[in-house]
Structures are given as structure tokens and as C-alpha cells.
């Protein structure tokens, strides 16, 4: 323990206060105890671990949400685009022409590839065009196809495309078509379209809210 500055010195002289070799005044304590440091480090570690865990979870959650949001946004835009063409549908070739005439609703299988093909008026002066929407189940990508007008209805596998497929949306795991009862639509023919945005399919599928659009068919 260092002597106090106001303690009387021997011989009545006030001796100068001893100076530490480093130039700093010597203190009673030169830092925290090992115990204090360990406690602080422990606490800091706990906090950092909690914050880190939270941060990782938040980043994961955010990335997942952003991903779902992107899927949803793309599916919504695809839904509007498809609706614009489906409202001009003159004749449905695939999956089942009867869907347009009040037949059983059609739902795409979650695996494999599903195609909706129909004929609609082309821009003048061209004749009708045959347009398709293909949902690739393995890639979960929705594409628009433009076929040659001589679409072989009975042998659709031999149909020729006029241009490369155009990507409409990614992250679409389901598609459905149905025709609402005309008596509930003021005597008009409507066609319903459903797209299911999501990232996984099959068992344990994680999908978003389906997007449903109904358009009046025959607006030429």
C-alpha cells in the first residue's frame, strides 16, 4: 500500500510522491480482477450468442420472406398477363376442352409438366394464334408458348413453337382452370385461373395463398 500524500514524512520534510516507472501515478488497483473479466466475457459471449442466433434466424426469415414475396409478385404478374390472353380464348385445346364449357375443373399435377393451350384472335391482319402456358413442375417455372397456327390437337407432342418459350414466373407450384356457372355470372361465360406460388412441392409443400383470377371469355 503506498503512503498517503498528507501523511507526515520523517524528519518533517515532505517527500515527493513516488512516481511509477511508466510515469503514471501508481494506483491501488491496476485493472479488473480475473473474475470480473471472466464474468464480463461470459456475459458478452451470452449476449453475442443470442444476438448472433437472432440475427441468423432473422436473416433466414427475411430471405425466406423475400423469396416468397418474389414468387408471389411474379405469380401475380403472370396471373394478370395470362388473364389478358385467356379472356380472348376462342377454343381450349388442352387440358380438356370441356373445362371451358362447364366441365370438371382441372388442376395441374404437382410433379411433371402441365400445359394449357388455347386459340385466340391474333393481332390484325393475322389469323388466330395458338397460345400455351406451361408449368414445369421440376423447375417450378411458368412459361408462355406460342405455337404454329396449325396446332395438331390430337398429337400435341408434335406441335411446333414459333418462338422460344418466354418465362412468365418462377416459384409457381400449382395451376388450375375452371369455368364458373354462367347462371351465377349473369349469363356470361367466365374462365377461372389459379396459380399457387411457393418454393417446394409434394409432401410438406410450403405454398402461399393461391391467386385466383376470373375473366369473362369472349371479349373479342
Amino acid at each position: 500500500m503506498s503512503p498517503s500524500s498528507d501523511s507526515p514524512a520523517q524528519g518533517g520534510r515532505l517527500l515527493p510522491e513516488p512516481v511509477h516507472a511508466s510515469g503514471r501515478r501508481a494506483s491501488r488497483s491496476s485493472g479488473n480482477t480475473l473474475f470480473e473479466v471472466l464474468v464480463a466475457l461470459g456475459l458478452m459471449g451470452l449476449v453475442l450468442a443470442a444476438v448472433g442466433e437472432l440475427s441468423v434466424a432473422a436473416r433466414h426469415f427475411f430471405a425466406q420472406g423475400t423469396d416468397q414475396g418474389t414468387c408471389f409478385r411474379e405469380a401475380a404478374m403472370a396471373c394478370f398477363r395470362m388473364g389478358r390472353e385467356l379472356r380472348m380464348c376462342r377454343e381450349l385445346y388442352h387440358p380438356d376442352p370441356a373445362v371451358l364449357d362447364g366441365g370438371q375443373p382441372w388442376t395441374a399435377s404437382p410433379e411433371g409438366s402441365a400445359v394449357v393451350v388455347f386459340r385466340r384472335p391474333g393481332p390484325p391482319p393475322r389469323a388466330d394464334q395458338v397460345v400455351g402456358f406451361r408449368l414445369d413442375g421440376s423447375r417450378r417455372v411458368l412459361e408462355r408458348l406460342l405455337y404454329h397456327p396449325d396446332f395438331p390437337v390430337g398429337q400435341s407432342s408434335q406441335a411446333r413453337l414459333m418462338e422460344p418459350p418466354r418465362r412468365l414466373a418462377g416459384g409457381v407450384v400449382g395451376m388450375a382452370l375452371w369455368s364458373p356457372d354462367p347462371s351465377r355470372r349473369h349469363g356470361s361465360r367466365f374462365l377461372g385461373l389459379e396459380l399457387v406460388p411457393g418454393r417446394t412441392s409434394g409432401a410438406g409443400a410450403r405454398t402461399g395463398l393461391p391467386l385466383r383470377l376470373e375473366v369473362r371469355v369472349g371479349d373479342l
Binding site: S29, L54, E214
Partner: protein, 419 residues
């Protein structure tokens, strides 16, 4: 005696620092959460837009008279999304139709459009007797216009639970009969002329639709020269009906008759030739004329759609190259060699002439309607084939006349109520 200040950081300072770090981290992490909330809200906006669009699409397929304001909630999977439909006056006969959809978190989508009341007012002429008969807005009685331009009150529709309003007309009144559509009670009334003058009380005919169809809302009416067939344009079912004078019950009422591909939009006017073999329908929504051939098979049949038991719908939408806006009344001469229609969209009187029977070449002629006539909103049209004169009536109760052979202007021959 003062103690020297201890060196290093105290436990309290460390804890304070940790607390500050924790608070800052919490704030930063909170941004992730609020970002997610905003993304979710954006998704609800998209769904609300889809739902509102679907509802509006459905309402646009419905005649304005059948649109009823209301509120409700969507079913699964959109439970929690509510909708509200409102309809209020905008300007003149325009109405504002609004669809509002609210999400559970308060995302709101409102779609609005203007629609015009689509009541139809018919006109029929009797070239032999020199009479014109026409309906006027908001009145159960039709008007009879004789030479000189003075309109007398004609037969009146029977009143029901609410006052009737006369709409489409058919049948030359001078020939002894007249059909009048009641736009309120949605039926047609048959008037027979007395030998002593005037008309007997009307016989009400309510056409009963099949269970899946709606109660018809008749616009234009037309009858053939022999009064064997009455053709009615039905806005509610987007179809036409045929009432035939037949001893067979099942053949008396045919309807609703509508082509499937392409479908009819909103039928406004209808016309039939002298032998009731060709029926023309004005499609005000799709802006074209449609043709129904009654009876025999046309050539080539590939361009036609079978209307079982009645005839064939021509798949072609007849319109000039310049386009057609919103055809209202349509008229055809007894020989089916000239078809006329008044187009409220392009503001022209349109006429096209066939080159050979059954084959209508796109030879159209157009005559601009005068501004005063446009302002009065033309509705029905009738043709005097012997004098080659067309008569138009308006939604303001006016009657106009124009000569076809020496195309001149349009002249008003009756200026509306009070004259």
C-alpha cells in the same frame, strides 16, 4: 484521504455496454420484422387488387339495372377480406360503380368505373297508315305521332307494384297490333287495336326463363311482316327470344337463344326481315351486329353455329373497317337487302348492303349524326322502305327523320315532351 480511481472498466460499465449493444441489435433486428410486415401488407394489396378486379369483372357482365350495392366477406381461402359495392349518380345518366376490397390488415383496393343507364326506347312505323309509335322515358304510355308532328298518347302499360316504363316496340300499329316491352316488370304487353279506334287493354306476357337463366330484361323488339314471329333482345341473359304464332306449345316461346362462340355482349336492338328468316342483333358491348338465320342450313356451315331447333348463328361480327362503337337500334328492310343501325359510339348512322343473298359483303356507308341528335342520345330506329326514310327516336323523347335515297341532313320532327 481520497482513494485513487480504480483502473479499467467496472462491471457496471460492462453491463451497461452490453445493454446498449443489445438494444442496438434489437433495433436492427426489428427492421427485419417491419420489412416482413410491409412485404405481407404488399401481398395483401395484390390479393385485394385481384379480388376487386374479379368482382368488377362480374359486375361489368351484369346489366346496370341488375347491379345492387352491398357488402360481404370473401370465402376461403380469402376469409377476412371484405368487399363493398356502391353505385351512385355521377353526371347526367352516368353512374359511378365502385368496388372496395379491404384486407384483414387494412390494405385497401378501390376500383371505379363509369357506366351509363342502358334503357332502350323503341320506335315502330307503319308506312301504310302513316303512323309512328315510340316510347318515351319514364312513361308507361307510348306516343303515336301522326302527320304534322303532333304526338298523341297511345296505349298504356298496365301498372303493377310499381309504375311501368315502356321500352322496345314492335308491330305496325296501323296493322292492328302492337307489342311493348315493360322495362320495370320485365314482360311484354300485347295491344290489339279496336275497330272503333284506340286499343284494347293489354295482354301481359311474362316469358318464363329456364331455371338456370335470369328473368329477361328486354331491350329492342321486332316482328316480321306477317306478325307470325316476335323477336326480343334480352340484355339480362345476353340472348334473344322468339315468340312464334304456332299451334305447338313447345314452339311458341324459344329462348334464351345465344351463340356461344363468339358470345353476344349486350344486345340492344333487334330487327327481322319480312319473312322472319334473318334476324339482326345489335351488340352494344362488342360493337357489332350479329346475324341469326332462321330455318335452313347456310352454306358453308363451318362459319355458323347451330341454334338447335331454330337455325344458325353467323360467327361473324359485322362491323365496318372504321369500327363500330355502341350500336343501339337496328333496322332491316323487308327484303333483307339493307341493314341500318344507329351507332351511339361512333356517332354515325351505318348502312350496309348485301351483294348477293346470304352473303353480306363489307360495303358500308356512314352518315354522321348531327350534334343535337347525339346530345339527345339516339336509341331506336325504324325504316319506311317505300319512302326510303329512317326515323330515329332518342332517350329525350325526340323523333328525327332522314331520307336515304337523297342523303340530306337529319331533321327533328318531334322535339320531345311538351311539344
Amino acid at each position: 484521504m481520497s482513494r485513487p480511481r480504480p483502473r479499467g472498466i467496472s462491471l457496471l460499465e460492462v453491463l451497461l455496454a452490453i445493454l446498449l449493444v443489445f438494444m442496438a441489435a434489437s433495433c436492427l433486428l426489428g427492421l427485419f420484422g417491419s420489412g416482413q410486415g410491409l412485404a405481407l401488407r404488399g401481398r395483401e394489396y395484390s390479393i385485394a387488387t385481384l379480388l376487386a378486379g374479379n368482382r368488377m369483372e362480374e359486375l361489368l357482365a351484369c346489366p346496370l339495372e341488375d347491379v345492387s350495392p352491398g357488402t360481404g366477406e370473401h370465402s376461403e381461402p380469402y376469409r377476412g377480406y371484405t368487399w363493398e359495392v356502391t353505385l351512385h349518380d355521377f353526371e347526367g345518366d352516368l353512374k359511378m360503380l365502385e368496388v372496395l376490397v379491404l384486407s384483414p390488415r387494412g390494405a385497401r383496393c378501390s376500383l371505379r368505373t363509369l357506366r351509363r343507364t342502358s334503357e332502350f326506347f323503341g320506335i315502330a312505323c307503319d308506312p301504310w297508315a302513316g303512323w309512328l309509335v315510340f316510347s318515351v322515358p319514364g312513361d308507361p304510355a307510348v306516343r303515336i305521332l301522326q302527320d304534322g308532328g303532333r304526338a298523341a298518347q297511345g296505349p298504356s302499360l298496365p301498372s303493377g307494384p310499381s309504375p311501368a316504363r315502356a321500352g322496345g316496340l314492335a308491330g305496325p300499329p296501323g296493322a292492328g297490333f302492337l307489342w311493348v316491352a315493360d322495362q320495370v316488370h320485365r314482360n311484354v304487353v300485347y295491344f290489339r287495336q279496336k275497330e272503333s279506334g284506340g286499343f284494347e287493354d293489354g295482354e301481359v306476357h311474362a316469358l318464363v326463363p329456364p331455371s338456370e337463366a335470369k328473368t329477361p330484361a328486354f331491350a329492342g323488339l321486332a316482328s316480321d311482316g306477317f306478325a307470325n314471329r316476335l323477336v326480343l333482345a334480352d340484355r339480362a341473359n345476353r340472348a334473344v327470344w322468339i315468340l312464334a304464332d304456332s299451334p305447338v306449345d313447345s314452339e311458341r316461346v324459344r329462348g334464351p337463344l345465344a351463340p356461344r362462340e363468339p358470345a353476344l355482349g349486350t344486345p340492344a336492338g333487334v330487327a327481322v326481315d319480312g319473312s322472319a328468316s334473318v334476324i339482326w342483333v345489335a351488340d352494344a358491348e362488342h360493337g357489332c351486329l350479329r346475324q341469326l338465320l332462321v330455318g335452313g342450313e347456310p352454306t358453308p356451315p363451318a362459319d355458323y353455329e347451330v341454334e338447335p331447333g331454330v337455325g344458325w348463328w353467323n360467327r361473324e361480327c359485322f362491323r365496318p373497317e372504321e369500327g363500330m362503337g355502341s350500336p343501339q337500334g337496328v333496322a332491316v328492310n323487308p327484303w333483307s337487302s339493307a341493314v341500318l343501325c344507329v351507332d351511339e359510339g361512333s356517332l354515325h348512322l351505318l348502312e350496309f348492303v348485301p351483294i348477293s343473298a346470304g352473303s353480306y359483303a363489307p360495303v358500308w356507308s356512314r352518315r354522321r349524326l348531327p350534334d343535337d341528335l347525339v346530345q339527345a342520345r339516339p336509341s331506336g330506329i325504324c325504316l319506311d322502305p317505300f319512302r326510303n326514310v329512317v326515323y330515329l327516336n332518342t332517350r329525350r323523347g325526340q323523333v328525327w327523320k332522314s331520307t336515304l335515297v337523297a342523303p340530306g341532313g337529319f331533321e327533328p320532327i318531334h322535339g320531345g315532351e311538351g311539344e
